[in-house]
Amino acid sequence: MTYDHILVRYGELALKGKNRKSFMQILKQNVEKKLSAYPSIKVKAKRDHMYILLNGENHEPILEKCKDIFGIQSFSLAMKVENEKEQIKDAALQALLLESGQTFKVTCKRPNKGFPIGSQEMNQILGGHLLTHTEDWSVDVHHPDVELRVEIRHDATYITAKKIQGKGGLPVGTTGKTLLLLSGGIDSPVAGYLTMNRGVEVEAIHFHSPPFTSERAKQKVEDLARVLTKYGGDIKLHLVPFTEIQQKIFQEAPENYGMTIMRRLMLRISEMVAKQRDILSITTGESLGQVASQTMESMHTINEVTNYPVIRPLVAMDKIDIIDISKEIGAYEISIRPYEDCCTIFVPKAPKTKPRRDKVNEFERPIDFTKDIEKALNNMETVTFSASNDQKQDEFDDLL
């Protein structure tokens, strides 16, 4: 008797009333996609739990992958046996022997009231069985090293030992789509990750200005998009050529308002892309008070150009906490690569930290960006990153 499946517990999803069924379907698809490298496994979504049948696959890497999937509250390796006392006793003993520690506790649950033995009595029967058949184990009901959970359900009894914490949140794809402004810095990937936590599917947009920004800066953004695929599945990255627009701003607008105008144009273009693609919101990595473009005045002035919701998951977070998440999701080492992006070139010596709407409109009025925006959109490149396949990576993998 060995662990033959993984028991997955839903998080908030269980609360979602009528939408529950579609939520469960989406989670199932996400799990299947994430585990596509293991063709033998089978995923079964039930009302209150999901089962991943291992069918002989090694569970270690699969458990690791489950930790990255939003919508999973917790999960455990499990054994499935028939609703029969002796079989349950045997399996409980096997499960305990696979664990290390000195103390245990049995927690029996009996949603299937048809089973003749009550859960209290079952606790005692199993505890006694385990004590008489092992040598080094004793019972500790308050702080056990191992909590053996036995759930007697209608279809079968499930025995699990270790409960592994999942990411929680909602399954990606259940709450719509957003367009993430991905810069290459520390903040925007974290913002994308946090929206995914709420079930949002992410497409990313990046503005680059070759030859002022390098191929490596673009590479960095692509690598960050790839990091996000770990949590959100496939990600489309829209690369907008921004050189000409930036040069025009630099030549024709007052220097101290250059950055404000640039951010407004980014937001305008983003809204157009979102509109084209039926995306209903824009997400940025802005956090209040970090740099000049992120003052309250600046946000007020920049936000004027769109009435799409701008989601700012980091707005009230401390930098240090943002960095922690960035490290946790594996983006930090990429984000700190020292290549300039389009926000750090043409930086005015003294950017306006308190830009005003009336002023910026006055400065923008004589400059006609229509053609430039059109051209940028026409030359926009879209690349799709997938968690599973990447040609260059495959070639490198062969070499390694």
């Binding site: 390098s214 191929e215 490596r216 590479q219 080492e333 490198f396 070499l399 390694l400």
Partner: protein, 377 residues
């Protein structure tokens, strides 16, 4: 041909050589160049580094690519000695190290450093109490090999690291050249600061290797130049070599499960050769299974090696790096076996070695001893 000299060097694996060729031909740009070609190669190099880091459970910036074991040992030992000579001038090592450690220590003695060479027992093991006693306020470095290259003794690196974790001023380096892919270490453990790994002992290429240098460790570089390898080891990266090393290390780890097979072969060598009159086994029973060292008393080892060579069986005397000098093995002398030290023969197995090879070797060595007994005896 039966090749039983794998601790001297191994045959490169075909896949490793193929990676080297492909990278040399297709990814030849300098990873520091800012054009697309350079950035591509930089990415590949980073992947190789990351793969090694993941295999060892260390951080990728802790992997310093070098030209192999000798350079890694020199960089570790001289690097610490010269970076920290203001803290103290005392180094502790053992009497049975590889020349790439011993001779470095000798050289530092000439510069004015003091070196304690810990003795070993007849199995080649150091005593932890000896180590504890040898530590003084001037000690800045302890360098102790993991698996001995001549007789296969495994030093208790974990225990040593645990002990030295209490001495923040002391850096601990281990020469892991003979251990990697066979006897692994908890590479990420606290107290273990520097680890030497070589490519060509694990079916990789000559001229490849790395030094694992934990983040808190400061080394004075041996060379000065560009900022490659965090400026600790400047010079245009040997990208093809480094990629081939990452591949060789991955394959070695994947094949490590076959190591148990070698334990049976090691046991067989013991069982078959120990009863023979005149043969003394120099390897400890609980040593690394890929190294088996014995002496045939009264026989010059060269004679046996040449006689076996005629049958296309290749074994060696002591370390390949010192076997040309006509001197007894310093390792076996340190084990207190003066007489055996001049007659030692090393059989060293690859992870792919077949049982048949060992059977043939056993048969032939018995024949040779029988044949020349009357003359040499």
């Amino acid at each position: 041909m039966i090749y039983l000299d794998n601790s001297a060097t191994t045959q490169p694996a075909q896949e490793v050589l193929k990676s080297f060729q492909t990278v040399s031909m297709n990814y030849y740009a300098n990873p520091s160049s800012i054009h697309v070609g350079g950035s591509e190669v930089e990415k590949l190099l980073f992947k190789a580094r990351t793969q090694i880091a993941q295999l060892l459970k260390v951080n990728e910036d802790e992997v310093i690519f070098t030209s192999g074991g000798t350079e890694s040992n020199n960089l570790a030992i001289k690097g610490i000695a010269h970076a920290h000579q203001n803290r103290g001038n005392h180094i502790i090592t053992t009497q049975i190290e590889h020349p790439a450690v011993l001779q470095v220590c000798k050289d530092l003695e000439r510069e004015g450093f003091e070196v304690t060479y810990l003795p070993v027992d007849e199995s080649g093991n150091i005593n932890l109490d000896d180590l504890k006693k040898a530590i003084n306020e001037n000690t800045i470095l302890v360098t102790i090999m993991h698996v001995n290259n001549e007789i296969g003794t495994i030093q208790p690196i974990e225990k040593i690291a645990k002990l030295l974790a209490n001495y923040p001023k002391i850096t601990f380096h281990t020469d892991h050249v003979q251990g990697f892919g066979k006897v692994s270490l908890p590479y990420d453990m606290e107290g273990l600061d520097l680890i030497t790994i070589s490519g060509h002992k694990i079916h990789g290429l000559k001229g490849t290797g790395c030094l694992i240098k934990k983040r808190h460790v400061q080394l004075k570089p041996l060379f000065h130049g560009g900022s490659q390898e965090g400026s600790v080891r400047p010079g245009t990266e040997n990208v093809a070599g480094n990629v081939s090393l990452a591949k060789a290390m991955r394959l070695a780890v994947e094949k490590q499960s076959q190591y148990n097979r070698l334990i049976a072969l090691h046991q067989k060598l013991f069982d078959q050769l120990e009863p023979i009159d005149k043969i003394t086994i120099n390897s400890p029973k609980n040593g690394a299974a890929h190294i088996f060292n014995f002496s045939v008393l009264g026989f010059k080892p060269e004679v046996l090696i040449h006689a076996l060579g005629e049958k296309e069986i290749y074994v060696s005397t002591k370390s390949a790096c010192s076997s040309k000098q006509d001197e007894p093995s310093h390792v076996i002398v340190a084990c207190g076996k003066e007489q055996e030290a001049g007659a030692a023969i090393r059989v060293s197995l690859s992870i792919n070695q077949s049982e048949e090879d060992i059977d043939i070797f056993i048969k032939e060595i018995k024949n040779v001893i029988q044949q020349y007994k009357s003359i040499m005896g």
